[in-house]
Amino acid sequence: MAKSAKSIAKTIDADFEEKTTLDTVYLIDGSNREVTLEIIIGAPGQTAVTDIILQDNNIVKGKKGSIKEFPLGTNKALNGKKIFITTVVTDTARDTNNTEEIIRLRGGLMFIEYKLFKIVKEEGDSAIFTSVIEFFKI
């Protein structure tokens, strides 16, 4: 059932396109396998804080920087739920104005990676990335 993550890896590519919003579906099955979430922040030297609401629970509040892979719940338990992710990336790096957020989901029907990206106009500006992902079982 579980396929190799790399072999079926899918990237919603937005490397060169500014994108600060995501609204999508993550397909799951009815198993008891855990679905995990990982968030990676760029560019090096930026400052970021993330807030995550899973359905009605504020599961992550004021988390600094990147977030290591952690379980959200089983496929079975997540069916029909939505996750709301808001990340504020502040430009504190002096050599770049690039801000980036990579969201990785594992454990469902496939591994998937979403990229959000923005070049802020001025030094010290912030990019606000918001994502809504619905867990859905066919």
Partner: protein, 405 residues
Amino acid sequence: MKSICFLIAAVIISFPAFSQEDDTTKIKLDLLRAPSSPAANLLDFAVSDIEKPSDVSAFMASLQSATNSNSLLPSHYAVDLAPFWLFRGKGLTTDKMDSRKFSDVFRQTFVFSTAVRGSDSSSKEYDPANFYSSFGIKFSIKRGSFSKRTSETLDTITLLAGQIASDVNATLKATLDSSSEYQALAEARRNKLIANGGNIDDPEVVAISKKMTNLQESFRTKIIGEKELLRSRLALLKQKAQSFKIERFGFFIDFAGGVTLEFVDKLFSRSNVHNGGAWLTFGGNYESGFSILGLARYLYNPDKIFADNAGVIKTSNISTLDAGARIIYNSPMSRFALSGEGIYRSVLNKQTIDPSWRLVVNAEYDLGNNQRLTFSFGRHFSGTITKGGNVIAALNFLKGFGNRR
């Protein structure tokens, strides 16, 4: 009259000025500092000739230029590569830049340097018949922590960004949950996925997701635009982020090392070690005004032997060990500064020159208006005791009396 006073003062103080021409001006502790690029330093490259690409594209462009579009081996090329930064150090945000874990410090500071010198070298120190290639590494074992000011600014940025993230997330969720338009689109997407067997790449599913994304974005823009508190927090966040600067205080240890290989007649099967070196720098600087610096350097076949100013030793296969330490106290609230400095120098595998050491203590008092009184006392490498004062300070001091008259 004033001009005559100046002239007399200048003539008088010019005599002790000669006493300053001792080893303190010729031999600097900084000579023992690790070079910014060990490999390039061992092959005598100027700092401006060292390539320091910050991303893979820049590195490839630099390599292509040095190899004449990949058609030749580079003959005069030096490059410093910081792998972590070259590959954009995914996930390295400011909170991790203050990490004191060795694994974090090592990967964030590790630099690999390499340099090559070929037959077109104009230097007389290198045999045009041979080919020289050097390799070096540099990294921190320990580094200082963020200063109080840096930490406080970062804490404020984090607090404000956290408040904004929390506010936007909760408001956006409430808005989307109560939007009939958004909920209808979500229902349509679910139905389409059931109908097509879960094909999220279906153009109709993609189109619905696009509409939902646009709707979400317009809600978010409205939330930020309408909430005064959010806007004021964003403005303050920008102000704090603009003033953010990384300053470090505390104990640090840096290591650098490298070796140069000489390929005789440009044959890769005939190589020998041309020269090499290892540098250890350690110490600390503290917000109280104390600074401590320690340096140790080992060189194999150095260009110039630190312990042999007269150039007595001519033979090759020389190993030298030099070390030094400096302690400085310069309180930000006080005009008094005290420093001590010691240097040890030796040739390890020749008995021609004995190891020697020097120790100097300096005291300084800032009189204000660019006037300083200084005093130094110490032991010379030869074993004689030296002492002296600051000539420029004395000149300014006399000028002050002249004005009063």
